[in-house]
Symmetry: C2
Amino acid sequence: MSPRKSDATRRRLLDAATADFAAHGIAGARVDRIAAAAGVNKAQLYAYFGDKLGLFGAVFRLHADAVVDSVPFTADDLPGYAVRLYDAAVARPELVRLATWAKLEGVATDNLATESSAGAAKLRAIAEAQRAGQVDASIEPRDVLALLIAMALAWSPSGLAAATTPGDAATDHDRRKRALSTAVSGAFRAGAGNPPQG
Amino acid sequence: MSPRKSDATRRRLLDAATADFAAHGIAGARVDRIAAAAGVNKAQLYAYFGDKLGLFGAVFRLHADAVVDSVPFTADDLPGYAVRLYDAAVARPELVRLATWAKLEGVATDNLATESSAGAAKLRAIAEAQRAGQVDASIEPRDVLALLIAMALAWSPSGLAAATTPGDAATDHDRRKRALSTAVSGAFRAGAGNPPQG
DNA sequence: TGCGTAAAACCAACTAGTTAGTTAGAAACG
DNA sequence: CGTTTCTAACTAACTAGTTGGTTTTACGCA
């Protein structure tokens, strides 16, 4: 089909909504504020997206797709994946915030990690890497993935212990990525087993 | 001072507010709903806590104190600490939700992990364990702590990859705790250095 | 090229309900 | 009898969502 004239309007709404939802969450976002920021009438917003939650869903899908596509999973190089995920989270902090808010506010979005088709593929790849002796087989694939993602996002906006800010020096990012790589490498090293307490 | 007569009222407000803030966040919480759930008039709530944010602050401080006190930090047994933190998060999911929401909504609460006096003590303990050769010294203490907490809370309500529900079977918790212990143990093992990519 | 028309895009103003926060006074208490 | 604790009722502002009508666009046709 020919590119619709109003696609630009739709796009501006999505951009404004992304910023507002990321900044304030679903309950905290304001429909009027989004429409004003987009320079679009509120009625248009409702015509396109139905209601506030429909708008959030559209925003969420947009970014979720962009991120799963941009970070290829490599079960035979878990540290590398973690670092790429760290970079992606730094580059697009809105997605992390969006996902965290969606989770806290209990809106149904197919879980961007496990439980999606992409997630299932990751789990299978991990299982295979375990059989190949590249990843500690004493940890179930789903737990490997959960820990891996948690580690990569440790400094993200949803991380409770620390927070990356866009203005962080490059040396901070380098230091964290080295730490992340080292820790991931050790955490899932094959043969580690369950050493301390038998 | 003598125990104030109205401490019970205050307490009921705090309890109701904890539930509501944990469930809906700051923007999503409703003052009327909290007052009704506590069986207390709204004006009382304002007399005690000033405004909505003041109430949130009181709730947050209450739980933050309770949790940092309940999980003793052991730099020479990082896996043990992680498992205890996991248990605490399972037992009191509200605190994790509260902290996550506070962070997302940008309210100033002295960071419950780093940057508090308790956090500084943890960092010092980690540094000492590194000197003693018990913890990988190639990762800075603040990064050790950030990763550690992220791992322990990987399945918590703020974890993007997976979610613990109160109804989870005990075997799930056991499995996760074994995985957590193994991963933490490997992640910070002294001498691991930066093996794969030199 | 110019015209007519139907659909799509747009907008200001409005509604009905909800929200945080206030007030003036009644009840309980020591 | 004065102080503290409590309450019902109120307000002013804000909220998501709607309405009815105007402007712009797409396109067949002469």
